[in-house]
């Protein structure tokens, strides 16, 4: 692999060098967005948390994101009276070796003054990033890669998802860290999944996470099943689950992690995204980008996104590679799709050939090549209230 990464103080390597402008309450969102718009730089991304009430999950998520390997610098936008611990977040970013500046709108003197200060802060942060930039060779074993499906249909589970599974097998074999998620979309797959666990404790964690998902979704009244799934030929949660599960490939599952927990060793992980305890803040993840954000908070450098119906989303911070399983979607929405796994249905490609194509694209994107969603300017980001207990000690592989 011919690519250079950005070396961070903690030893991790980024595949992008992004300045994040982060609003710490919805009241600072507009001001932060204006700063990003006026900076007019594809490497300046908007992220944030809209809530005014404190939430440990949101705090852990934001701390993980300001220290994400693809993030080189941070500008925080606070209104001034919200509960978010802006000093703690700024201190965490600074301790991670990143330049960080905080703009408090009430202290700055209002919207216009905060925008002007914010633009100056972005310029200063960029200059400091350039001064301390260290480029180092990048290998697949340096990468954390997530996968998610969105807008699934009857083709996803037989083309795009198993092709990503083949890519995951190759990536794990090359020493990468791979994450699959959405335990609510694994309901019905818990038996075969637990068999793949590398230890009995991990098997127990898998079984418990799926049981939790089923209980939680039952309480919410719905499974993770959208109208478009049905229009695309899927008839039940477990049919969607079986198709989604094959994204994980065939390698052993070495750990079960929760959002903002960092994998301790390479290998394949299940990310448990369903909150602990009784339903408190609503649906586990209100849309696909909420899951991408959680994988990023676990260190994912990029995401493999499979879609049948044709999702167009990208993400702030970490590039999204979109793989469509539906040849009709490829013809209709090819400008948004990076890989056509629908060719498998038409007989002009195989699961292995598409898997290899995905790995080659991961290497190219890690080396700086733009994905379709990056080039189109997609920078989606969403973070909402959730609550989790920390994972038990048996959920992670032991570090040798």
């Amino acid at each position: 692999m011919q690519a250079l990464g950005y070396l961070r103080a903690d030893g991790r390597k980024g595949i992008r060098d992004i300045v994040i402008v982060a609003y710490l309450v919805e009241c600072a969102h507009h001001t932060a967005r204006r700063i990003v718009d006026l900076a007019d730089d594809p490497h300046v991304h908007l992220v944030g948390f809209p809530g005014c009430y404190p939430n440990d999950y949101a705090k852990r998520m934001m701390k993980a994101l300001v220290a994400h390997p693809n993030v080189g610098g941070v500008v925080l936008l606070s209104l001034g009276c919200e509960s978010f611990d802006r000093e703690g977040l700024a201190a965490h970013a600074a301790a991670s070796g990143r330049p960080v500046e905080t703009i408090v709108i009430q202290q700055a003197g209002g919207t216009k003054a905060a925008i002007a200060k914010g633009l100056e802060a972005v310029t200063r942060v960029r200059a400091q990033m350039a001064d301390k930039e260290v480029r180092v060779p990048l290998a697949l074993s340096d990468l954390v890669i997530g996968t998610i499906c969105g807008g699934s249909d009857g083709t996803s589970g037989i083309t795009a998802n198993p092709a990503v599974g083949r890519a995951f097998d190759r990536l794990v074999d090359a020493g990468a860290t791979c994450i699959f998620e959405e335990t609510g979309e694994m309901i019905g797959c818990e038996g075969p999944m637990a068999v793949r666990a590398s230890t009995p404790a991990v098997a127990d964690a898998i079984t418990a996470s799926i049981a939790k998902a089923e209980t939680y979704y039952r309480a919410m009244g719905y499974g993770s099943f959208a109208p478009g799934n049905a229009e695309g030929g899927l008839s039940s949660q477990e049919e969607k689950s079986a198709g989604a599960y094959v994204k994980s490939g065939s390698r052993p599952i070495v750990g079960v992690i929760k959002p903002a927990e960092q994998p301790t060793a390479p290998g394949l992980y299940l990310l448990d995204v369903v909150p602990d305890g009784p339903p408190k803040f609503g649906f586990p993840n209100i849309s696909d980008n909420a899951e991408i954000v959680e994988m990023m908070a676990c260190g994912a450098h990029l995401t493999l996104f499979t879609t049948g119906r044709g999702s167009v989303v990208g993400s702030a911070i970490a590039p999204v590679i979109k793989v469509t399983g539906n040849p009709e979607t490829w013809r209709r929405m090819g400008e948004d799709m990076d890989v056509n796994a629908g060719a498998i249905l038409e007989g002009s490609a195989t699961l292995d050939s598409v898997g290899a194509e995905i790995v080659a694209l991961v290497e190219a994107v890690a080396g700086g090549a733009e994905t379709k969603s990056e080039a189109l300017g997609h920078r989606e980001f969403i973070l909402t209230y959730k609550s989790f207990e920390p994972s038990g000690p048996g959920c992670m592989p032991r570090v040798a």
Binding site: I187, G233, S235, S236, E238, E239, A242, G243
Partner: protein, 97 residues
């Protein structure tokens, strides 16, 4: 030309359409010989054999729900005649309320 349908697992009692199939179309692929009862879109399922109400629907070699109404071989299998054994799904009609 690509086949009309794919049989994903030997134990399956449904097949998946690789393209839109037409009503009355004779389909012969993967050792399955059926006549499509109606027009069915890419990604949707056809019954491989007659499926009485209550039958487990098998796809990928695994149960994906149960028939709520009977369907003949070659008929469309979807939410009008099958349901999840786990948890209910929501449709656009429900959102219109």
């Amino acid at each position: 030309m690509a086949p009309a349908i794919i049989l994903l697992h030997a134990d399956d009692n449904v097949v998946v359409c690789c393209r839109t199939v037409m009503a009355g179309e004779a389909i012969s692929a993967d050792g399955v010989d059926i006549i499509a009862a109606e027009q069915v879109a890419l990604g949707h399922k056809l019954a491989r054999i007659d499926l009485p109400a209550g039958t487990k629907v098998i796809k990928y070699g695994a149960p994906i729900g149960s028939m709520t109404h009977p369907v003949k071989a070659g008929g469309w299998v979807h939410m009008h005649n099958m349901k999840s054994d786990y948890i209910s799904a929501h449709l656009r009609d429900a959102a219109k309320g």
